[in-house]
Symmetry: C2
Subunit: 681 residues, 2 copies
């Protein structure tokens, strides 16, 4: 082919295509079509980030014959790179490979450079990369008396010349290091430039010579647990993840007791802030060590948290969140410096905090919304993250509403007589035989049911120590399905004691879920008060959901996504039997895991996602349940199981529900107040 | 007049005019014409910044009759303000006064609010205000559960609603204070917004209720002295000024010895940086206390300095500046936070550092250029700031060149046998009688000449302790004019000893400038070596100037401005007699005082001046004298007085110059190297 000729190039998986003069580097062709191929070294064949593969053969559908000869043969730059860092035989460096004829090019999503990557179990979703911080390798002019520009100014000139980056600034703390870094690298350096499209682009870090490592952490600060994910900003791959209990627990189990601690102790806020930051730094150290990454290569961090944790983490006073009008110090997203909040990664690293939706609907709910994208669907999706407060988001493309509901800690196993955190020995699965009313159980730490031999073998070491949140939901739902409790939530002692399974307890009855005994652990019971506690919690959650459905004027939802730890462990069927969530096709109810953390990762890897959630949060209609008269009405109606006012036809099609036998609900506001508390403060 | 009618309004001194509907507030009229009237409270009649005066009468030239009735009468808001803070009877608040008919309005340049202002002696030049940081008073919505925006977000909304400020961010350190400030002020607050037109506008400080105090400091960090000016960002007025010796002198008299100190001592850089910052903080405290200003109301700082002081102040390594290629760490201007460099003003305050022109032509030269504006004139202006290095800027509207010349410390009185700093007792003025060769002198601290009675009265207390830089220049020039020294710089002993005034000293002669004696202080002499030292210094300066003239292809300059302390005290005539500067009409040679400091004040008060000097510095052609072969040639030719190669016709017209009697110049490179040093390091 003569140099005048053009060839057709198709990039997959994006499907973008265009005609390019023969001789065009594949990287240039990709860029001119807006196909994202990372490059740190600017086409010098050093970084190896710009790998592609030619797909050869006839692509009739696209009218392209991608013959092996249609790409230039591997050159010495690629040979040198392959020798230094290894390059799979089918892979090419797109900065070196040139278009010789029609081509189909695969852009791999997982360019693996330099290091064995530890795959993370969960969350393998692909996130398009458009990180705020990128690496650029440049060769800087040496100082010249004839043109007395400063070192930094020549660095900027090089970045403009080689990478077309204009209007750069530098983090002041970098300034004193730049001259030494330039000289150490003999005027060849890699810089990290932060450009989130808002502030002027800024050099935040620099290394002598070539550096191809750029990482970020996405952090979900929950009241109970903190989770950190370490991802490559270049490939998007999650390198390591780790979690820990929130050490603030020693200041108060639930958020409101931590807020009280701050109110009562002059140094309380500082102590809580320091504690959570230390825990995060420890986790960051752990994921870096697991991934074999140096902390100086962590250049970005993104955080999600509920409003109280958000404030405590940032060093803001959480006390206004403890009483009406529940005023946030700040609701919008924040761009700050890691060093300003004591996060020990690269000293120039930047931090992005997702916006909070409302005083009880935090950046974690925003993250979950970003990850689950109800705004991108025609289906009306209900997204629920259950904690001490349930954060509820409901809507679709047209309209989205959000609220929180004071479920209290019952779903987390607190305020339940035998309740405990999800830990080995906790009952997490229950089946009650409707004939004998005996239960079989599964505990965390043993994969077998209690009627299987493996259980007996292991129970000595693990024990049966209590019942966790998902276990109590399942236990009560199974008790209901077996007729142990009535639809109004009364443990029914009228049918006999069933071999001591139903025992009198003052004026009520208690159900013996697990009798325990020699080599069987302690006895575990479900009291009438336990049932009441769960009824109150589920009624609060359901009332919040119902209120949002009223706002949208709908009587059913198309899809339910249960986020968070509780949502992951709970069986959707039992959640619906108990009436935690409204009726829905069971196939369309799913646990979505740590959706908030996924949202944080999305914001970490792509600034478009930051703009997306900011715009969305402004658009979400915030409903304050405390101000809605109908909340109380829905709450009272939702006490019974199954729900008194709303039928569950779709559930009933799959599960045989007992007839409702409704009695009056005796527990009222007093109990709720003692637990939820915040709405009265 | 009916509401439909329009009236003509003319604002003075700007001369801007326009037609406005009757009823328009004068402030709005001014704004729509781009006439700058400050307002902090947004037209609430609280701040009193928007004062104007009506000029009444017939203004035939402008075709306007500004009748007293053509402005609305003072209203109760103005009466209330006048009662609280006093308002001169002729003054009106332009936010309250409305256009009723044709008006001529005077916008006073010195609105004086709330406090007696101390006038500064020098530098009364008017600088148009367009400060980077402004105050805005706003009333913020209270928290509302229905619209759960954060405190900060409601503050931003108020600033957008009331002041049309969009895209605001907040300094993260402010964030934890905002909720308390809003509540302390009962949702009425004043915020300081920094907006330099580059970074997103940012809230950097806030106060409960109304605050009308916004100040800035302009700082000139010289090798020898540091000067701080405190100015109101609102009125532009300089409230207080103060100066001190640069305490770095204990690490080395001149810059190169300080650079050596850094090279030799591992903690040297930190020590020098700490020392200069402490001195600046002390000065800031002093000007604030003098002006009765709280440091938290100082919201901006602007700095100029020579390159070495610039680097030491910022904590940058100055060592590369000590040897070729004299590489600056950064040459462009810098926007940083005061807290990042330990400047103790408002914690959110911002700092602007003017750009450096070259490795030896610093931000101080840039400041002086900004202040003297050669770029705004058709006349070719020579701007010289003499220190250990002379910084030289030459040019006009068309083209500007700059260089530095290694004059050494002789002009500062160092390396002169009886030399001393400018301090009481130092000879600063000299007249030599051509007949008797006796000198009369004036010393710093006594206003009279030595032949006047007052001198005799005071000399006991003050003494005659030495000769300062301007004194030695004048002494040698007068010696030359009187024939004590020849045009080649030799003290001429051939004419006799003139009553012991000319005494032999080894193989040369020494001139007794002041014999001293009982009640007359110590004897002060000028040795042959002293003359040689001044010859070397003046030749270096002149050679640098000549080189720049060559670059521009000119043989004469139109105007000479002598900046800095030395430039202020030296008599232009003697500077020219000695050949420090080229021939020029003496009426067009002037001392311009601390021009660098004035440039800093301009950049403090108006961000347009920042952009102006940045653009200009990029445009200035930087000449490195060390690289120019002709520099040496000019230097050798400039040793004699008056200058050998360049005639001084304009000087000769005013001063009777002796005939040149040139001898060979014996001193050469060796001496120069010992003094200047830096060009060889």
């Amino acid at each position: 082919m003569s140099a005048q000729q053009e060839a057709l190039v198709l990039f997959m998986p994006s499907g973008r295509r265009g005609r390019f003069p023969v001789g065009t580097p594949v990287l240039d062709a990709a860029r001119s079509l807006g196909v994202y191929i990372e490059s740190v070294c600017g086409g010098r064949g050093i970084c190896g980030r710009c790998q592609i593969e030619q797909a050869t053969g006839q692509f009739a559908k696209h009218g392209i014959t991608s013959a092996p000869d249609n790409i230039s043969p591997a050159n010495e730059v690629e040979a040198r790179y392959a020798g230094l860092r290894s390059l799979a035989p089918e892979r090419r460096l797109s900065c070196q490979a040139r278009v010789e004829g029609d081509l189909v090019i695969d852009v791999p999503q997982d360019v693996q450079v330099n290091r064995q990557i530890v795959r993370k179990r969960a969350e393998t979703r692909h996130i398009d990369r458009k990180p705020a911080t990128r690496l650029y390798y440049v060769e800087v002019e040496e100082p010249d008396m004839e043109k007395p520009l400063g070192d930094l100014d020549r660095l900027f000139a090089a970045l403009k010349r080689e990478w077309k980056i204009d209007g750069l600034t530098a983090d002041f703390r970098m300034l004193s290091h730049i001259p030494d870094i330039l000289r150490d690298g003999e005027w060849k350096v890699t810089v990290a430039v932060h450009d989130d499209g808002r502030s002027p682009a800024q050099v935040i870090a620099a290394w002598p010579g070539f550096n191809g490592d750029a990482y970020g952490v996405a952090v979900d600060i929950g009241s109970t647990t903190i989770a950190v994910h370490l991802s490559s900003l270049l490939s998007g791959r999650t390198v390591a993840s780790s979690g820990t209990s929130n050490p603030q627990i020693r200041f108060g189990e639930d958020l409101m007791s931590r807020v009280s601690y701050v109110m009562m102790n002059p140094d309380g806020r500082e102590a809580l802030t320091r504690t959570v930051r230390e825990a995060i730094n420890t986790l960051i150290e752990r994921v870096c060590s697991e991934g074999g990454i140096r902390r100086e290569h962590v250049l970005e961090a993104v955080f999600v948290a509920n409003p109280v944790m958000h404030h405590l983490f940032l060093g803001l006073d959480p006390v206004p969140l403890g009483s009406a009008p529940f005023a946030l110090a700040v609701s919008s997203s924040l761009d700050i410096e890691a060093s300003q909040i004591g996060i020990e990664i690269n000293p120039g690293a930047r931090v992005y905090i997702l916006p909070c939706i409302a005083g009880h609907v935090g950046a974690d709910a925003a993250g979950a919304t970003l990850a689950e994208g109800p705004q991108n669907s025609d289906e009306v999706t209900l997204l629920v993250d259950v904690g001490t407060n349930a954060e509820i988001v409901l809507g679709n493309r047209e309209r989205i509403v959000a609220a929180s509901s004071p479920t209290g800690p019952a779903f987390e196993g607190a305020e339940i007589s035998c309740g405990q955190r999800a830990a080995p020995g906790a009952i997490e699965r229950v089946r009650v035989d409707p004939e004998t009313l005996r239960a079989k159980i599964r505990v965390i730490g043993i994969d077998a049911w209690s009627d299987e031999p493996e259980f007996a073998e292991k129970i000595d070491q693990v024990g049966v120590t209590g019942i966790c949140g998902s276990g109590i939901v399942e236990a009560i739902a199974e008790m209901f399905l077996a007729g142990v409790i009535t639809a109004d939530g009364v443990i029914d002692g009228s049918r006999g004691d069933f071999n001591g399974r139903i025992v009198p307890d003052r004026r009520t009855f208690t159900y013996v879920l697990w009798p325990g005994g020699e080599g069987q652990g302690s006895p575990i019971t479900v009291t009438q008060n336990d049932v009441r506690a769960i009824q109150l919690a589920k009624a609060a959650l359901y009332a919040g959901v119902r209120l949002l459905m009223d706002k949208l004027g709908i009587s059913a939802v198309d899809r339910i996504k249960l986020a968070g730890a509780f949502g992951s462990y709970i069986d959707p069927k039992y959640a619906m039997v108990l009436g935690l969530v409204p009726d829905c096709d069971l196939k369309k109810v799913a646990a979505v895991g740590n959706a908030a953390g996924t949202g944080a990762r999305m914001a970490l890897l792509n600034t478009d996602h930051r703009r997306e959630i900011e715009a969305l949060v402004r658009r979400i209609e915030k409903i304050e349940t405390a101000l809605e008269p109908r909340f109380q009405e829905h709450f009272v109606n939702a006490m019974a199981l199954p729900n008194k006012s709303d039928p569950f036809p779709r559930l009933a099609a799959e599960v045989k529900l007992p007839e409702p036998r409704l009695a009056s609900v005796t527990d009222g506001d007093g109990r709720r107040t003692r637990r939820g508390g915040r709405r009265r403060g």
